[in-house]
Symmetry: C2
Subunit: 339 residues, 2 copies
DNA sequence: CTGAAAGCGCTTACAG
DNA sequence: CTGAAAGCGCTTACAG
């Protein structure tokens, strides 16, 4: 029964050696391209190995090399808004190197965090990537002094660590310059809580470009706040903005909706830019949002490649690595997408 | 240097045995509560082990037992809408058993799927959970005849497998009965593509309760379709519905928006129910959506416990296991939440 | 150019 | 009641 053969014992290097008529050591060396032997022997072993479907047991390899070809991804971003793109990037970068990733969501529970970290360590992960939902908060677990390298992505790292994050200042600059290039001259900024560094960075970029003709409106990350802010502006007398740079897509969506309800046309009367490029929000807004994409997948790729380097003992410069954002042009600003 | 000690050799069972003054075999047996020995010896070994921070190497254990305390989660739901809650449930159920989970997103690429499955097998996963975004489509990878148990969650399984999914019929019944209990008598149904079984199941429940006084409106899973459907109904002469049961939250959100734009009040004039309880959509709608929750986390928990059972050789009845949905009452229907 | 032996960290018969 | 030995599947000095 083909089935039973598959189900029962998996084929080991013993089987390969026997089938190729060589010793186990020779088989091992042939398959790993190490040692010295006749090209014909090496080729024959390799051919036989694939023929009988040999796949080396990663557990055994790991026991020897102390590398499990496994890394852990720790996050407190239950929702997955930030973690999933990061995760996709990590996986994409590491699959070619044969490394798989453990994902653990730990909410804000330190005890749960410790349990998961210990589980990872027990399984000899080659490294850990810590990820979160904002760059100025730590995960609720201590990741210093671990016996494996740790890199941080979209969460605050310990001093001396490698941390990846998006360039909020540059992203915001992209957005505001786009509005200015479209001829907009009265640009408002409706954003999230001032306690977030991202918020402050984005506001700083905004202020450095447009000056303080209009006060930055800090609030929460909700649609409710977007509506409230628009009401605040439009219920006040005086000239209205011809563009609004929003701190995230949810706010932007609400702003677009609120404007429509006031018969202000987007983008004809007012251009609106968002931040995040959260597909479910940005693409479903009417009109769809032009918004800043933080390139989280690229960020994940870099983080993955970096733990790998660290694992392999290559030198990596510590510090905060900032990756550029990109503007995704849809229809909420008008303007020519090919501009 | 404390640091160096941590960074260098991890403590092994050798160290425990030496520190406790027993042989390695005795140490092993003491720690695993096997074998026979004096209670004092056992206790002493255990105490010493925790004192010097011994944690057994899972790779070595796995090599012996052929169990890696690791399972793989395979999904083509890149977005994570369905997979993340399922994943959360799996992790929650398995963390107490010391098993960690590999997450792999494979889009719709069969080659990539095979690569990841092979990687999992190489790492001796104890089992695999396949997950997706609809229950009537298979993942683009063959999971039959694998040397490890496979269970399916929110994706179509092979014949004879164990598959978990939400009870669409019951969920839809919950929604429609809620509307009827509120005194609604003309209930419309705006939903997704008829090609989805979920859509057909939900429609079947709807029809069995309200009859065919109104045609079911099949469309796409987008907000655009929600707007279009409302226009279709309200631009036609004749009596209007006093309630709308929507196939998902995105449609429901659009329906609520469209109604507001026509000055139809929700929930006063029309009650609206959604499906999915997708927080980002449901909670941000004005008013927030009453919607059906598929309990994906519970589904994940069941799936996790089931692979575990299979792994341990316990008997599991094959077939499709349907888990009940729940109605989450917010404000889009009116009615008393404590009802 | 090829193979026998030791060992990675653990567990499990088997002796004593 | 306790320990020496073999072995899980592999790799890597070391002999020949």
């Amino acid at each position: 029964m083909e089935n039973q053969r598959v189900r029962s014992a998996r084929v080991t290097i013993h089987d390969v050696a026997a089938a190729a008529g060589v010793s186990i050591s020779t088989a091992s060396k042939a398959l790993n391209n190490t040692g010295r032997m006749g090209d014909d022997t090496r080729e024959r072993v390799k051919r036989v190995a694939t023929e009988i479907g040999f796949r080396p047991n990663a557990l055994a390899k790991g026991l020897l090399s102390n590398r499990s070809f496994t890394i852990g991804l720790l996050t407190n971003d239950t929702y997955g808004r930030f973690t999933l793109p990061v995760m996709a990037g990590i996986t994409e970068a590491l699959v070619d190197h044969g490394v798989s990733v453990f994902l653990c969501t730990i909410e804000d529970d330190p005890a749960l965090g410790k349990v998961h970290v210990d589980a990872m360590l027990d399984k000899s992960v080659d490294g850990i990537i810590a990820s979160g939902k904002r760059i100025d908060r730590r995960l609720p677990v201590d990741l210093s002094n671990l016996p494996v390298p740790v890199v941080y992505a979209f969460t605050e790292g310990t001093p001396g660590s490698v941390t990846f994050c998006a360039d909020d200042f540059q992203g915001a600059t992209l957005a505001v310059e786009w509005l200015m290039g479209l001829g907009r001259r009265r640009i408002a900024h409706i954003t999230g809580p001032e306690s977030f560094v991202s918020v402050r960075e984005r506001a700083k970029a905004y202020l450095s470009l447009v000056g303080d003709q209009l006060p930055v409106l800090y609030g929460t990350w909700s649609e409710a706040w977007g509506h409230e802010a628009v009401a605040k502006i439009w219920n006040t007398s005086g000239p209205k903005p011809d563009a609004i740079f929003c701190g995230n897509d949810q706010i932007a969506r609400a702003v677009v909706d609120a404007l429509r309800e006031r018969d202000v046309r987007v983008p004809r009367d007012v251009s609106v830019v968002g931040f995040d490029n959260w597909e479910i929000v940005a693409a479903q807004t009417r009109p769809p949002l032009t918004t800043v994409d933080m390139n989280l997948k690229a960020l994940g790729r870099e983080a993955g490649l970096t733990v790998l380097a660290l694992t392999e003992g290559r030198a990596v410069e510590p510090g905060i690595r900032t990756l550029p954002c990109e503007l995704v042009v849809r229809q909420s600003c008008g303007g020519n997408p090919d501009h």
